[in-house]
Amino acid sequence: MRPALSNLSMLALAAILFGAGSAGAQKPLLGDLPSGSRSRPVHVIPLRDENGDTIEPNDHLPLPYSTEQTCGATCHDVQTIRRGWHFNAALPGVTAGRNGEPWLWIDTATATQIPLSYRAWPGTYRPQDVGIGARAFALRFGARTPAPIEGDAADSSQDRARWNVSGKLEANCLACHDRSPIYDQSEFARQLGMENFRYAATAASGMAVVTGSSSKMPGTFDYLLPASVEDSLQPSIPRVHYAAERFLTGQKVAFDIAHLADSNRCYYCHTEIDVAVSGKERWKAGEDVHMARGMACVQCHSNGLDHAITRNYEGDPAAAGNAFSGSLSCRGCHMGSANGQKPSGPHGLNAPYPKHKGLPALHLEKLSCTFCHAGPMPSGKTGMMKTARAHGLGEHNANLDADALPHIVDPVYAQLNDGKLAPYRAVWPAFWGRMKAGRVEPLNPESVRRLLDDKKLSRQAPANGSWPSADIAWVRRVLQLLSQSASGQAEAVYIAGGKLYRLDASGDVKAEANAQAEPYLWAIGHDVRPASQALGANGCQDCHSKTSPVFFGEVQVDSPLEQLGSWKMNHFQPNVDAAYQLSLANSWKFRIWLKVIGSGVAIVLLLLLLGGAYQGLVGLSARISRGRQDHV
């Protein structure tokens, strides 16, 4: 009887558990079920390791906590969240939307600056197509994304083995939602530099101090059996030292979690700054008008549980069919609905309705709002800027030199997909590749580097982190080397500064135009300037003059080779007639005459009209009173 009862009990228990599990998949988890309260939920919770076990800080060798397990075990649907915008770049079937900021892979030794994106935006390259595996990507960029990064097919066999040592990089909820002043994403970056992937979030949170480095561990290292490594490596074994004072009764800790991410968290990855005001001159830099007025990033860039954060440009496919998401664009907030109603703004912000006095309506059709209101004020030539993601701003080892690579130029006034003129940032690609079926396929920068190292052709990185010294003779030698190293393979080429370099029949380097050499552009959304600082605030001639930077400005060409000058802004404006714009600019000086003459004529004509009316009335009066005058 006993075994039978036991079996039945087990079956019943399994049925209950299975049923509960099924029901759990249907219903929102505890933390995803809105209570309706506007107060912030308190997060006093146990820490869990990556196996879901509760962490005891007094254990002999406590493990780092897992964000996905700690947040997702019972409270938040991490699997749904992992399909959100910040996490889904590498997932198949995700709509890429308009071009965004790429990941810029820099290698000064090979004079490489190549835009990468898992989203395959036109002009970027998928990391795996350049032979860059997930591990190399995580080591280079992992600190500036909350996305989970796990091994992929592009990882080398050596890298595949290293995942077990370092652990995978989990979705880091705290990167956005931890409001604690001691949460330190730069510590996260430092831990990644030591390949402490599974320890990075723990170290960043301030819950613990992490010592040691996975990068020093052999490929056979098992983090659950740290004693297995040789004695000389014992001091370098990654260890977690939890702060005992952070643990409350029941081994729980208090997280300062904000449902709406603090802007300070966004800034860690999304700071963008003009090099002229970076570093020591930061105090002179302005701020987005919305932030200066006390708004937060998430008031516009919002999302639900799906974490499909709105990008807020018109035509965003992610906002299709969602009227509220659509209302979060510039026009949605400031211009109101299509029927001309004044906006009330989401969140009751009562966004000011722009007066645009004197602005012909045509401008609202041909220009994006950002054309006049976003990015740095244009001058005759584009400037250089830095972004947190490209330059590691805020990280311990970031190169603060103004010339540090990558070189991003802005503002470039261009017409892309929607045909509207808008300001863009641009990066000039520079990489080695091979011509295949008329297209350049980039070579893995690491492979090229090893090849150049062998032949002592690698370039020495300058201290300022800018381009190394390189010339056409060096390009020729490298192209010859690449041709020899893989005879019979496709032709080796080099792309830089808007040109494609290849060897001609005589062995000389020939430079030619190529679409893949054109700069990669992505739209400038911020900083938004108020009306008083917008283009046009000083009058029409901000744009309609012979020296107008938006039509006749120059885009600085960036190249490791010789200075190649600049490209005309009009190159990026296929539907703008430069000759017409010049004629219009030239005609502008006559506009004041037109105003004066026209006003004078209108006044005189009005006086004549009044005189005519007077005369007509006199004549009418005479006609009516004819024959009556004798009686007067």
């Binding site: 012909p360 007639d577 006003s599 209108a602 005519g612």
Partner: protein, 201 residues
């Protein structure tokens, strides 16, 4: 809609002129018009001729540049055509002023004109001819439509109107300009017809 109205108005003007010409040719009902005023000396007559020709040329230029896009069913007046329109509009404004100054004294509505109106268009010895009366009417109508035509264009050049308000100004400009062109053409025709009447007497 506006294109249909423009075509309708232009067609109406052409029909009116053609009908009057046909009437004049077929029925030869030439009415001697009263000499309105001293024609002045030769230099002044030459000046008047120049003003009239300049006015006609500028009217033609501004009409062609202004209505070409509408008649060609283009989405909007823009580009070089708009630049040409604005350039000719400046000349037209000057010419319109000159024409107005030259013609205003001959187009005052006087008691004699009201006589003709009171008699239902049947001229008497004391009244002017119907052609002259119509010339005066179209002169003042052209003048009355020239003011808003100019004013709406000028207001749009100052930082006063929002884009939506500018659209209203543009519509007002288009309507008053259409009226201006129609009245100007009819005024010119009536002026010529009155001259023919006078010479035929």
């Amino acid at each position: 809609m506006y294109r249909t109205v423009v075509i309708g108005v232009f067609a109406t003007v052409v029909v009116l002129i053609a009908a009057d010409l046909a009437r004049r040719v077929l029925f030869r009902r030439v009415r001697r018009s009263r000499r309105e005023a001293d024609r002045g000396d030769r230099a002044l007559r030459l000046l008047r001729l120049c003003v009239n020709v300049a006015g006609g040329v500028c009217l033609a230029a501004v009409t062609v540049t202004g209505f070409a896009a509408v008649l060609a069913n283009a989405p909007a007046l823009g580009g070089y055509l708009l630049m040409a329109h604005v350039t000719t509009a400046g000349g037209f404004a000057g010419a319109a002023l000159a024409v107005a100054v030259v013609w205003v004294s001959r187009n005052w509505i006087r008691q004699a004109d009201w006589e003709l109106v009171a008699k239902g268009g049947r001229p008497s010895a004391a009244s002017v001819s119907v052609t002259v009366l119509m010339r005066k009417v179209f002169f003042w109508m052209a003048l009355a439509s020239a003011v808003p035509t100019l004013a709406t264009a000028l207001l749009a050049m100052f930082p006063l109107a929002s884009p939506a308000q500018q659209q209203v100004l543009l519509q007002a400009h288009r309507i008053s300009a259409l009226l201006l062109v129609a009245c100007s053409v009819l005024f010119a025709y009536c002026a010529l017809a009155a001259e023919w009447d006078h010479r035929g007497s």
